[in-house]
Amino acid sequence: MSTVAERPKPITSRFDPRFEVTLYRHVGVEGAHTLEHYRARGGYRAAEKALTAMTPAQVVEEVKASGLRGRGGAGFPAGVKMSFMPPADGRQRFIVCNADESEPGSFKDRYLMEDDPHQLIEGMLVAGWAIQATIGVLYVRGEYFLAHERLRAAIAEARSAGLLGRGVFASEEAEDAPGNAGFDFDIILHRGAGAYICGEETALMNSFEGMRANPRLKPPFPAQAGVYGYPTTINNVETLCSMVHIVDRGGAWFAAMGTDDSKGTKLYQLSGAVVRPGVYEMPMGATFRELIHDLGGGPSEPAKAFIPGGSSTPMLPWSEANLDLPMDFGTMARVGSMLGTGGVIVIPEAQCMVDAMANVVRFYAHESCGKCTPCREGIGTWLPKMYQKLLAGLGTREDLALMEEMVRNLGGTAFCPLADACAMPVAASFQHFRHEYEHWVDHGAPMHPTVSRWTA
């Protein structure tokens, strides 16, 4: 009883004096991407600690204790994922960084890689040590050219400094200290070429292996058969960067931030009709209000909805109650949406919702890999054409019913979650903004006609 009273209140606000920007501390600083800059500020201290003073199992335990959940959208507990790796048996093992950030509304990983590439390299080193993987694969989306170049330079610097390659942090004394012989670890930097589906972990592996990027069957899971068929763990950029600080300051420090089911500091993104769009690092459990109003300056015009976590997450109507919701995985699931990557998009009142959803549907149609029938035909062809028909003023009430049924047929029937990522948001737009669809049907015109949005 007394322990409960003594436990300090978790940090769930950016404005809590105990909170400091950690992941983004170097982002935006000129010259921050160099090894010199990074090391001068404690860089690679965590990796050294992990490799010389902790066993791999201890690192995994620390990550588990931190409560870190994957930051790429799925929110799977990172420590648990690492523990899925089979015991080392002599076969090659891989740690893969999924830097294929392509979810509309997400742009946090890009600045991390451009301005603080060493943090990611250190994160891969730590994670590689934890799962005893000697090869890291860093799959960067093809369009992120600057990030790729910065990473390439940083990897070269790290190699020259002995922070990558053979015997990282090999020590000369203490024969039975962990990490005496050092850890052989290096990174393969691989550039993607423009396909959102490569953000799906098994499709990423197929793409990396030089094949068409269709997703794979699971099971087997990557831990059993991943890259080239070998045991593999795949993590998002932010997840790996978080591990650096978890090792440096302890899992408990991380777990002191956030809510019961979502711990730590997280990079939230804000875009759409807001005054100050951008990436904001906040403890998990902070509210949408804090992000949108306090940090983001509020909507730049009257808003009617916001997407909580990237275009794959069902939108929430703009309301005081919804703004007060904490941004964590559990809450979002409870209200029928998802936290995803935390990419919040504010949709203004003056934007026709049908037009906005047509834009989103066209995205998924373009990105569908074509492997399975419902996504290739339903999302690739049918749904976009239904929106075109509506937006040409030719839609009927039956069409609306058909779209809703189509979306139901897509849910849970496709090979991978891309179909759901399109269908669920469409369903939410019908749930909350059916009147705008009906307006198109009844009047052949939008409730909110197109306004100019481009700045002179």
Binding site: A365, R376, E377, T381, N409, T413
Partner: protein, 816 residues
Amino acid sequence: MKVVVDGVTLDLPPGTSAIDAVFAAGSDVPYFCSQPYMSPIGACRMCLAKVGAPRRARDGSWILDEATGEPQVFWFPTLMATCTTAVMEGMVIDTRSEPVKAAQSGMIEFTLINHPLDCPVCDKGGACELQDRAYEYGEGVSRFVFDKRHQEKHHALSALITLDRERCIHCKRCVRYFEEVPGDEVLDFIERGGHTYIGTLEDGLPSNFTGNITDICPVGALLDTTSRFRGRNWEYHHTETTSLDDASGSAIVVDGRTGRIERIKAGHHPQINKSWIDDGTRFGHEYAGAPDRLRRPLVRSNGRLVETDWADAMGYVAARLAELSGKEVGIALRADATLEEGVAARALADHLGSGQLDHAPRPAGGVIAAAGHARLEELAVAGAILVVGDVTEEVPIVDLRIKDALRGVTPPRLFEHGAPIADLRLKERMPRRSGLLTVAAPVRVDLMRHAGRAAVYPAGGELGLFRALNALADGAGADGGREVDPAVLGMPLEAGVATVDALRRAETAVVVLGGWVLASADATQAALHFCRLVGAKPMPIGPMANSYGLELTGVLPSHARYAYAGMLASAKALVLSQLDPAVDSVVAERLAALELLVVHSSFLTATARLAHVVLPATTGYEKDGTVVNLEGRMLPVRAAPVDAGEARDFGGLVKAYGEAVGQRLEGRSVKGARRWLKKSLGVDLDALPPLGAWAPSKRVQARVAISVHPAAARGGALRVPTMVRAEVLDRNPHLRAATGGPALRLHPDDASRLGLRAGDEVTVTVGGVPRRLVVRPSESVPPGLVTVPATPEEPVGLVPVDLARIAVERHALEVA
């Protein structure tokens, strides 16, 4: 494991897929992307069903349903693709409830969105999986009102296969087939999402096994060009029979209509060819319908061949034979004649008192029918294989069975519904264990791509090769290998040693002996000795469909000098069935002076033109009978209803002869022949089980023909096996277009020295036989060697001729 499907309880082995459980229970779910013998991928989403399973509590006991006391069924949160779901203990599968029905009709509707309404003009109509499933599981009306995706509709992937891209439903069976079965990755998806289409950058789909995709394509996207627009599926008469194109005994289905053969499809034999056939077998039927088929008997009258009837023709034959001593009459069948035809030939020879009876081609090695041969199923699970020859051309199905062994795919357990629809052991892009395969040949052959070790030995050097291998097996390699010359081996010594070791260590080891080995009795004996040394089973490849059977039933000369070559040289009269020795001008001269030449043939060949009597012969599609494949398996041949005029098989010829001389000779009818065969083989061929039956193994004393022992030379003209029989290639226009015609292959340096360019048409005369061929320079052929296609008259083997002495006459381009 206990599995309940729609209320039916089954006991199934672990690893069974849910879709096979569904079918084993007698239920049904639709599917397009699954295909027996190929990996399941869960792409089409048609086979979705409601699946649940009990769960265990922490203490290992089942969590019980409080109401019933039975293990509680926890339904999976979404419908599961049954093709990629493995059964679990206590799994419950429901294929009948509303959500499943809604998903099925929804998926049909999605599948039909971009599928063109081509049924009235589509060759697949009536045999189309999409039509059937749409009828069974769809709503009947599509609500898609927009313009469908437009793609190319008549894309010639090759001369043999037409692709209609609009009809493709992206099941990926064709792409997976090429990677998984022959290992020739010639098709792939291009672009992504709704724009995806099937395409290739390999001109003409270079693979011997392309036609199988027309069988497995569930819709009319991939079509057999030889039968395009020839008929509707429900009009075709289907005859299940055995292919006589090679010694594999592959099961085929002959589709015909109004007395014509229009199409060959693969039949299913799980132990021989599974559900695959090679392109030569599939597309090589057009010759049977060629306009110059012989339909009536011909008799020479006043120097010209005139049509007559069987009675008249055989009357003439009987009269002439009566004037001759029977001993001077030679009878020869082609080696793809049926057992029953062989019985008829024996009966005729016995009646005439002639010991000059033979079948051709018949390799000098003489071990086709012997005990201890490896079976195809053993080959498919062998732990080490040595191939000496070009099986991809000689008996293509052997190539596919070898590839099964490379993937480590053991034959699946068969359900009542056949081979598993979704065998979860099969995955896309499985690794190949090339280390278990060594391929040796006098030229580079395609199978070497998949082999861990490849040996190109000197042409004609099969004896040297096996002597070297025997030396290595005796330990010669261990002491520095000074007794073994790598040049004779065709590969480095280490590779030879590794080959020997692999064969020794394997539980099942097979040595495949192609025609080049069997052409030499010495080489064959050395090969068999090698097999004994390393504990491997031989698999000799007989030259034609019934080499095994005709040897087994003694269609053989009473003395070596009466063998085929001998009778051509010395008999006074000849009865030849489907053989054409007059292509050799020297032989032609002799034949022209015979007392009596009777030719039984489907076409008016050069030999037929010299004959006194020509009798129309049925092709392999038009007779009932039995053949014995290279494994020693007796297989049924069934006649398709083809209008071939008055053509008969050899039994019919003997029957007509018997009628002319007033004798009832054995084998004049298939039934009669089978009575004889039952006595001599102890097998009732009228009651062959569906998968055939093993021929009794006999020690056969082969009367060896004079075998040529060419000194192993790097130079000469090598006769090579070809998948498509050279003698029918001209009458199979699609295959001819696809293969570019029978080829003269030689090294590019030799080609330029001889002034030859790719595509030149030349006449090549080797050993007195002129052949019209197309020049194809190739790095696979060592310098100094040319290859020409083998024929039954000129079987595989080396003619050691100086390259410069091979007469090559280029044909001038005819300007119209």
